[in-house]
């Protein structure tokens, strides 16, 4: 009954807000990741000062050292901004340099973390030692996993840049990676502040009334 015809024309992909679907998806994803870290951070905060045995934060955290690695991570966010800017200008050399720089600084941060975990283990703090160990390693571990995934993502983009796949037309790919990277950075700032600066001087169980 109905005549089979050609489709009227190649329609524009429908988009009500003007925000690219992938960008919108990623922003919503980041808000869910906020809650994920929020729940992990809440667990840490609830258990602050509740460890029954040591080592306690004051015994073991090296705030100056971690401040350095934090600074490196912050710088990597700057490198990420430069990488996006280079992509938007089709500056292929710049793209590669800044993507690599971001990834390398991320790797330095992870390197510091691995060193830190090793040191703590040597000083008797394992994930099963006490509540501090449990919450510290879990929270920073999941953050580190996020950073590591980001590092892999950056290197993949780096490699793809050799195949001409990282161009201003596809700058969204780099922008989304950038969003992720900045997010991970901001989460670290929160974690660093709470664990190291606020909780870093905790010693022994808090005596409550």
């Amino acid at each position: 009954m109905a005549q089979i015809t050609e489709a009227a024309h190649h329609e524009e992909e429908q988009n009500c807000t003007g925000i690219d679907n992938r960008k919108l998806l990623f922003w919503v994803f980041l808000s869910t990741d906020c809650l994920f870290f929020g729940a992990l951070i809440s667990t840490y905060m609830v258990y602050r000062g509740q460890s029954l045995v040591g080592p306690y934060p004051i015994d073991i955290l090296d705030i100056p050292l971690t401040t350095i690695s934090t600074f490196v991570l912050l710088c990597s966010s700057f490198a990420m901004v430069m990488a996006l800017s280079a992509t938007q200008k089709d500056d292929i050399k710049g793209i590669r340099i800044w993507l690599a720089a971001t990834a390398i600084m991320g790797m330095v941060f992870i390197g510091f973390q691995i060193f830190e975990f090793w040191e703590f283990a040597h000083h008797g703090l394992l994930i099963s030692t006490n509540l501090f160990g449990t919450t510290f390693f879990t929270l920073t571990g999941f953050h580190g996993a996020h950073v590591s995934l980001g590092i892999v993502w950056l290197w993949v983009l780096f490699i793809l840049s050799f195949r001409g796949k990282v161009t201003s037309a596809r700058a969204l790919d780099v922008e989304i990676c950038g969003l992720y990277w900045h997010f991970v950075d901001i989460v670290w700032i929160v974690i660093f502040t709470l664990i190291y600066l606020v909780g870093g001087f905790d010693a022994g169980p808090v005596i409550t009334g």
Binding site: I4, Q14, N21, V28, S31, T32, F36, Q50, V53
Partner: protein
């Protein structure tokens, strides 16, 4: 006419199966969700049956205490995560793009991935039955009971890791549908012109996106305690069992709105169609849905009234919980307002919609009595709560889902369900559910706690339990009638045509079943109830009522291509999950199979991002 739409299913068996495995078509994915979820609904129904047969008499010993405890754990978990949520998902998948005038969802491959991961979670958790390690911690798995040494077999890992897979599936789908609803609405379809069903689905996607990470963290912490010796809920190290409860219920309360809002949305579409007048107070219904979604975050500790939170916390949650009755009541009144002054045709879908309202009034009122904390101190953990939850979930969600099935089955299959069988199904279900669950109010108030595998005759609970168990048999019969109706009508039902109900939504402007591309021309929407506008104008102008959109050659439509990377990635995720059940210490790695699974996930994601959604076509 049917040939174009079903071209996908021609060819030999293997190519048909392959086309389903690699499908990214939201309609097929919706059907996959529906079939899987309905099977799991029946499985959970059998689990309920075992319990009801055991409790039919005092001192029953049909099954051992341990098996009974596994039954209520699996019944609850399956019904919530593997039946109602995915039944809702079936509607999200099938209906949302059609109702908003889109060709598919924003991320079709991600959509397929959600389904296959869901299937993986079903298989993973139920695998426990095969190896004799069935979860038995109750569907909310309170710590420390869910920890070692109190739950010593692997059952609770099947539970927690299985749920993590389900969580990934739902969270990812939530993101997908948010983008779909925000960005892919047809021209002219503003948010306030969307069908209420889509509005409720939209609120639910946002709830999913925010609630699931919280339970994910809880599940991760529980699993880490069990597998890696962490101390999250280990009381001897200072761990706090109440933290688990907070994490669970901060997810768990929005979860119940995730379960009920979609069926509320469904009946909000069904009622106007059969009352032949628009939904009464569309803005109020939409805003009350949004209010429920928002307020639902502020009530979670009403599940914890007896845990010892202190009178301040209990007072606050009493007030917030009572207040959430207000938007719920508004919806009920507005639905009644839709019926009022209408010209109601009682097709099966409508019977279920009205039945929903009647049953939800009961469930909602018993909920209000729970909100009153001093009253809850008696009701908590008794059969009164079981009565409440089944009135809202069976009398509410399930009846609403049946309403949706009867409403949209003709669109999906092109056939009508038998009205005679449908009415029979409705009335038997209605009687059955009231026989099964109403007595439970009394049982609870008479002191019968929940989750007990038996009871003694001296308490006087015998007769009501027997009545309730009899009600189960009635429900069982009603399900048989329904399944028979589905199968028979699918095979030889009456042709439905594109618009059997004279309904207002965009999905009725296309053929039944829809062509693979949904709309040959994306519609332009003039207002709420867009098809009514078009049809009524034609009648007023004395013109012919416009029929379904004419079909076009599908190869001329820009559609996403099938892909095997979604199922590949889901399988990889399943391997990752399975890896945690098999300990093979290798160097410092305890679960090497999980490492392999993780690498495969990485491969899948990489290949997937590398694959273009559609091959370039010349047209």
């Amino acid at each position: 006419m049917a040939t174009i739409a079903t071209k996908q299913s021609e060819g030999n068996t293997f190519s048909v199966i392959w086309s389903w495995i690699t499908t990214v078509d939201h309609k097929r994915i919706g059907i996959l969700y529906f079939v899987t979820a309905f099977i799991m609904f029946l499985v959970a129904g059998i689990e309920a049956g075992i319990m009801r047969m055991q409790l039919a008499t005092p001192g029953g010993n049909l099954v051992s205490p341990d098996v009974y405890n596994q039954m209520f754990t699996m019944h609850g978990t399956t019904m919530v995560f593997f039946a109602i949520m995915p039944l809702n998902a079936a509607f999200f998948n099938y209906i949302i793009p059609l109702a908003i005038g889109a060709r598919d969802v924003a991320f079709p491959r991600l959509n397929a991935f959600s389904y296959w991961t869901f299937l993986a979670s079903v298989l993973f958790m139920n695998f426990g039955f095969i190896v004799g390690s069935v979860p038995d911690g109750g569907w909310f798995a309170y710590a420390p009971l869910s920890e070692q040494p109190y739950s010593s077999n692997q059952g609770m890992e099947f539970w927690s890791i299985g749920l993590m897979l389900a969580a990934v599936s739902s969270a990812v789908a939530g993101l997908n549908f948010v983008v779909t609803i925000v960005n892919l609405r047809a021209p002219g379809m503003t948010l306030m012109r969307m069908p209420v069903s889509v509005w409720m689905f939209f609120v639910v996607q946002i709830l999913l996106a925010f609630a699931i990470p919280v339970i994910a963290v809880g599940l991760i912490e529980l699993t880490m305690d069990r597998l890696f010796g962490t101390l999250f809920f280990v009381t001897s190290a200072g761990g706090d069992p109440v933290l688990w409860q907070h994490l669970f219920w901060i997810f768990g309360h929005p979860e119940v709105y995730i379960l009920i809002l979609p069926p509320m949305g469904i009946i909000s579409d069904v009622l106007p169609a059969f009352a032949k007048k628009p939904l009464f107070g569309y803005p109020f219904i939409v805003f009350s849905g949004i209010a429920i979604g928002l307020m639902g975050w502020a009530v979670w500790s009403h599940h914890m009234f007896t845990v010892g939170l202190g009178p301040i916390a209990v007072s606050v949650f009493t007030i917030t919980t009572m207040l959430i009755a207000v938007p719920t009541g508004v919806k009920i009144f507005n639905w009644i307002g839709t019926l009022w002054g209408g010209s109601i045709e009682y097709k099966s879908a409508m019977l279920f919609a009205v039945g929903f309202i009647a049953m939800f009034i009961i469930g909602g009122l018993s909920g209000v009595s729970h909100a009153v904390a001093p009253s809850d101190y008696q009701q908590q953990d008794t059969y009164y709560i079981i009565a409440h939850l089944h009135y809202v979930l069976f009398g509410g969600a399930i009846l609403g889902i049946f309403s949706g099935i009867y409403f949209w089955f003709p669109k999906v299959t092109g056939k009508l369900l038998s009205e005679k069988l449908g009415k029979l199904h409705f009335w038997i279900t209605f009687v059955g559910l009231n026989l099964t669950f109403f007595p439970m109010h009394y049982l609870g108030m008479n002191g019968m706690p929940r989750r007990i595998y038996t009871y003694a005759t001296e308490f006087g609970w015998d007769n009501l339990n027997a009545l309730s168990s009899f009600g189960y048999i009635v429900l069982f019969v009603s399900m048989l009638i329904f399944v028979y109706n589905i199968i028979k009508s699918y095979k030889s039902g009456e042709e439905a045509g594109h618009d059997p109900w004279d309904a207002p939504g965009l999905e009725w402007t296309i053929t039944s079943p829809p062509p693979v591309y949904n709309f040959s021309e994306l519609p332009v929407v003039e207002g709420r109830d867009p098809y009514w506008i078009v049809k009524r104008r034609a009648v007023a102008e004395g013109k012919e009522i416009p029929g379904p959109q004419p079909l076009v050659d599908p190869s001329t439509v820009h559609l996403p291509d099938p892909s095997y990377w979604p199922i590949f990635t889901s399988v990889a995720l399943l391997i990752l999950a399975i890896g945690f059940m098999i300990e093979i210490p290798v160097w410092f790695v305890k679960y090497p199979i999980s490492v392999v699974g993780g690498l495969l996930v990485f491969v899948g994601v990489l290949a997937w991002s590398n694959e273009p959604p559609t091959k370039e076509k010349d047209h």
